[in-house]
Symmetry: C2
Subunit: 282 residues, 2 copies
């Protein structure tokens, strides 16, 4: 695979982790960062995630490939502008929601140069200092509406993801957003709500800190996640997230009803049912 | 610390993990298991968690200390029987709920020999094969109603927990059960309910498996937990769990309302509030 000059717009958790992979797998000959946050720009250079920081226009001019790794509300603004500016470069976004984004550039004359991708990876931390080496290895990446991408752009993107050892899946943007609501977005809502539940009731915060078990930390971990990333995701995927959230509240009410009515046989059934997740996850 | 002959009733996840610690820290001169599940008894011997399996009566007769590590519904039956049988041995339970248990032996003539303890550790797996080496290190253990224990029994118990490097906290059984509802029990209910949400809606199970991110696995991990352990916990701690569950549903409804009304400012506030969990957990 010939090395490319690559720009990453947004050198945070995702962009920074990708930069590490592109460098390690010798996919990039040069890594350029575009970063409006001064502190993040400085950190990205210090941590050697990118070789230099440039303005968007300069970066695009010097690059073969441009990755967009900014929050999804910014993506919807940024992507058409980037497509306006490119010649024949490949543009790949890494956002967590897809329908509004592909819709926004559906009729753009450069639509073919764009590949819509979502690596199913993240942590509750953010910024370049949160970048993780080897982050994407053996993780799924979903490519959406690939038939709308030029075949050379799509082919390079797939080769690149394969080389950083991601498992490539393809689906249309609408299917992606529905699945993402189930396997990612709802987990964040439950975790945020669980944190607020505990913070609301447990005024003796010291007690939580002292007692918190691994189980609690595991379910509440995502509640540390960055609102600047997550509010736009929930906004763009509102309908799907609302459907799943309604279903989740219904499921919680079943547990509540079991306890209220002291129906422990049904409570057992609900838990046995939940255990089936064993067969789906490892 | 003089080595003791120690019995563990219930050589599963908790009993088995404790056995490994007692052996490693040279607290036990002999480890006896009492285990009604034939398969678990066999496994516990194979894995060398205990030196031998005996009947409850024989085990008690030969021991200085008896740990009870069975589900909390069995504990309420078992603890008074064990106290009936002992002379001067120390009896320690490791159950996840405490109020009903201490109530059940409140007036027992041997109450002083009993120490009520809850190590804040567990995994979603069960049985002796799930035992983990070093499991309890740097984990909190709560000792309840310690004033009702004889001072020698309490002192030995504390020394033992310190030697396996647990952080000892003391509180009364009622406070324990309230805190446990917040920092442990509700996490399990949300996780069970989340698993059921996804299983209900996502009929294409293959898609979940393929897409499931680390975030999803983290929040749904506890849904693999053993119903035989958890139904009795929810039953014994019903009132506290119901209170927390009601609060949790209220918190989820706030997220729902934000999305329904497209009130993204308040959604941001809710997430910023949830982020405060950062200050409490590491």
């Amino acid at each position: 695979m010939e090395r490319k000059k690559i720009t990453i717009v947004g050198v945070g958790l995702i962009g920074g982790s990708l930069a590490l992979q592109l460098h390690e797998k010798k996919i990039s000959s040069k890594l350029i960062g575009v970063e409006t946050n001064e502190f993040h720009a400085q950190k990205a250079l210090e941590l050697e995630l990118v070789d230099q920081i440039l303005s968007l226009d300069n970066a695009i001019e010097q690059s073969d490939v441009i990755f967009l790794a900014v929050p999804v509300d910014s993506l919807v603004e940024l992507l058409p502008k980037v497509l306006d500016k490119i010649n024949n470069q490949v543009v790949i976004d890494l956002g967590s929601t897809k329908s509004q984004l592909v819709e926004a550039v559906k009729n753009h004359p450069k639509r073919g140069r764009y590949v819509s991708a979502h690596p199913m990876w993240g942590t509750e931390y953010n910024g370049p200092q949160a970048a993780v080496k080897g982050a994407f290895e053996n993780v799924a990446v979903i490519i959406c509406n690939s038939k709308d991408s030029d075949s050379d752009a799509l082919e390079w993107t797939k080769k690149m993801f394969s080389k950083i050892r991601m498992r490539i899946l393809e689906m249309d943007a609408e299917a992606h957003d529905l699945h993402a609501a189930y396997v990612s977005h709802i987990s964040h809502i439950t975790s945020f709500a669980l944190a607020n539940t505990v913070l609301e009731k447990e005024k003796e915060e010291e007690a939580i800190f002292e007692l918190a078990s691994a189980g609690f930390e595991s379910t509440v971990r995502l509640a540390k996640s960055n609102p600047a990333m997550w509010v736009p995701i929930f906004k763009q995927n509102r309908d799907n997230v609302l459907d799943v959230l309604n279903e989740h509240i219904t499921q919680l009410r079943k547990f509540k009803s079991c306890l209220e009515k002291e129906n422990y046989e049904y409570l057992l059934e609900l838990i046995v049912q939940a255990n089936k997740i064993r067969g789906i996850l490892k």
